[in-house]
Symmetry: C3
Subunit: 353 residues, 3 copies
């Protein structure tokens, strides 16, 4: 038997089939400790996730875990099976948070392969997946689609005809916020939450500079990414990455998303829940030493069927590196790293009405 | 509306009025996870905070959280409202720990503006505040005064006549240690605690070199400061600070205090509770790469009214950078960074009798 | 009294006597928070420690803490008394994990001095110890022997005749796995655990390249080592170490062991418990910036008396720095740092049958 028969270098493009279902290792009990490490990595200040007392006062049984922590933990499980041989994460769609996750819940993940399309160069292809995170009661807590460009092991391998799934351009407002219990809006203390501005105060087209900047250290992004059990080597191995295209480790894109979300508190303090992500694009890589800034635009403001407690804002949040956002920079097409834009995220948040 | 109308750059000197009361965001449930991150950042070894078994054996219901962690969390809440535009934190006074804080407690903070004095250059002024941290039952757990030099937004803004509050030079011994339950002193295991020396063994005037040194990394002080939800940009933004006076991020002064406290275990292992801080001065800034040392002098030794279990020591702890404390260096007046002194702290600790 | 009479620079060779028993400070309640910081430092993926649901499904009352976290916490307690003046940690033997440790347990440690042998240069000697960690119920959870070369304070000090204890070359398979409750092997989900290969699938002599590499940052090894309350100054003080032999801080050897263990998941995913360590040698130091890789060889495969649920594999795991393990490099004798081998560990793991 070959020496490495029991270890793995991950799946290649030709290993996937449309209709395959992958149950991922490793189940993970997410805890108060994870919340603290997450807090230390990003400096979040959203009150509902920060305070049991605040969460209980409005109708949660206790403070739920940060939505993006849940996303990263579920996403991390999929990496060893899906994207160890990825060339690029091309996109996300239809990301929906379905149930609150509390400290002590155990998360596991499964993935359906929903599409495959070989690239014309026969060296790689795009794998389309639908991944779902479940809690210990088998309830789906998060579902999302993503598509990834994955290397082929063998350029000559014959692959099936292309299947490209239809994915929604954005999540419908009617489908979101199922993870938010009925909120006692009279008990919601805006001063403690950090802002007097609620759902009705935001206007479509309004732009918000989140002002603050945060510099990423090598140890910080590694600690965060390991917390999620994400094993993508580009984030951890300077010995190989130092010889690669960028000469250094890449910061996991999820770290940039979490930083942008934390920075967005300054201007969106009452956006206590990320309800769905419509689309996300990492316009350029981030590295240790980069300082991340962010700004947001209100794309839509939607009431939610049957709910008078909360409403939804569809936001576009753009993160930059090493340039502040006072001029609201947008990514060019194709993205040019020189302008400093690293993330363009389209998502829904819940806010008290 | 201007683009940044929903985000904030913080209050300026002319925004404050004597008598104003500010309720700060964000309430924070402090947890076992926070204790672990704090442990990883500083390496504390005080037994009462480290061990539920030790704490229970002497009369606590469980291990209380580290006093300085509580201080930093409460202090952190005040930063977005008080000191985003601070030029310097000038001092602390009358810092008193009033109730033990346990994992699971939720902390919030309020501040009274108790004094204001414009500087003669009209560009800034000193804001005097009294901040108080409360738990979820509304009990005050910590109160402290501080004064901060804050920029004016508009040099021409007219401000009220100066009010400078009277603050005590130090906290009276009779007022401290309310946060310590009656201690079963026969159960207090000095060997487990790390030293045979208790209250009666320390002499006024005695000096203790804490010997050990600890080098600060950029990621470490950022992780700690974000854990406290402290948003002061000088600690986090290399993009702007790199163009500033020091060309680099400043380490939050509270990190130096916590390091000095952790180092002081070697010589003060039974000083299990910081009861009050009389005065604190950051004599010079600390930066990543600096190695922190500390020494202490016993200023007073006081019995506590009605208590035969514990006594109080008033200590002066001096921290240095990149010079060890075998010669007990003191800060000069005015402080000269070249001598290496970065902190001069006057405080009370509780120790078994 | 001399200024430093209350602080300590640790014991020197002549301070030890065979038969001495040392009760170490500081007792430590290990928590969910510690598990999260440990997770963030190493990226472990073993399912039993990661998931309460997985652990409960097979017979644990909840997820136990990682065995090596327990080892490091117990080891850390011994450092201030045993090895502050160590020149080198020479070896470990007969390391046995005796009881599972759960979040909330409080660990303390005692050490018996079991041997002493002065070096011929009279400047130092070897101290042989047996250290044992206990939980809050007084149960031994871990026991291990180690021997350390310790400086003499005074070269002229007279010391007793040499006593060198007999230590086993390895732990007998019959003595291990007492810390593993009866496992419901039908409930053990190999897919969730990350591999279909169980005890019977491994062959003596088989070699496994664990493939992945992990770069160590200064902040990461300091955070981990402080989490264990390990105070050895070589890991923390750049001000002194910068003037020393290596010009920089040494990474605690336990960090390398934990990284190698975490990397070994890729190839040994079902090796859910470290049952015993037979021998360990740090062949060369590791520093921040080094990238760690590992490979393993199966030395023995043993059934366990009276157990049909699990079996034991005796493994040799070799860790390298800045060279991958595709060629299975071994340490030379004497160790030469140029070949990149930093750790050679001989240990037993438990695996489902």
């Amino acid at each position: 038997m070959p020496p490495t028969a029991k270890s793995t270098t991950g799946n290649y493009f030709e290993d996937f089939r449309v209709g395959m279902v992958i149950r991922h290792a490793t189940p993970r009990t997410v805890t108060l400790g994870d919340a603290s490490v997450y807090q230390a990595c990003y400096g979040n200040r959203f009150a509902v996730q920060s305070s049991d007392a605040m969460a209980c006062s409005i109708g949660y049984p206790r403070a739920p875990l940060d939505d993006m922590l849940v996303f990263h933990v579920v996403f991390g499980k999929t990496v060893p099976d899906l994207s160890l041989n990825a060339i690029a994460n091309l996109g996300y769609a239809d990301v929906r948070f379905l149930e609150p996750v509390y400290p002590g819940d155990t998360l596991s993940a499964t993935t359906d392969i929903i599409g495959l399309r070989e690239n014309s160069n026969k060296e790689s292809g795009v794998v389309y997946v639908r991944s779902t995170g479940h809690n210990q009661r088998g309830e789906a807590v998060l579902t999302f689609a993503r598509w990834v460009m994955v290397r082929k092991r063998d350029q000559a391998a014959i692959v099936a005809e292309a299947v490209v799934p239809a994915l929604p351009s954005h999540v419908a407002a009617a489908a979101i916020c199922k993870a938010v219990p009925p909120i006692d809006i009279r008990a919601y203390d805006r001063t403690l939450a950090g802002s007097s501005f609620v759902w009705g105060d935001y206007q479509v087209g309004e732009r918000i500079d989140h002002i603050d900047g945060m510099t990423i250290e090598e140890a910080e992004h590694q600690l965060a990414t390991r917390l999620y059990q994400n094993t993508a080597k580009v984030h951890f191995n300077q010995h190989t990455e130092g010889q690669g295209r960028f000469k250094r480790r890449l910061v996991y894109g999820g770290v940039v998303i979490s930083l942008a979300r934390a920075l967005s508190f300054n201007g969106l303090a009452n956006a206590f829940h990320v309800a769905a992500i419509n689309a996300g694009r990492h316009a350029a890589p981030a590295f240790a030493g980069d300082t991340v800034y962010a700004w947001s635009e209100v794309l839509e403001r939607e009431a939610l069927p049957g709910r008078s407690d909360i409403g939804a804002l569809r936001l576009r949040t753009v993160a930059t590196k090493n340039v502040n956002c006072s001029s609201f920079p947008s990514p060019s097409e194709p993205a040019s790293p020189t302008e400093g834009v690293i993330l363009d995220l389209d998502y829904w948040v819940a806010m008290p009405r």
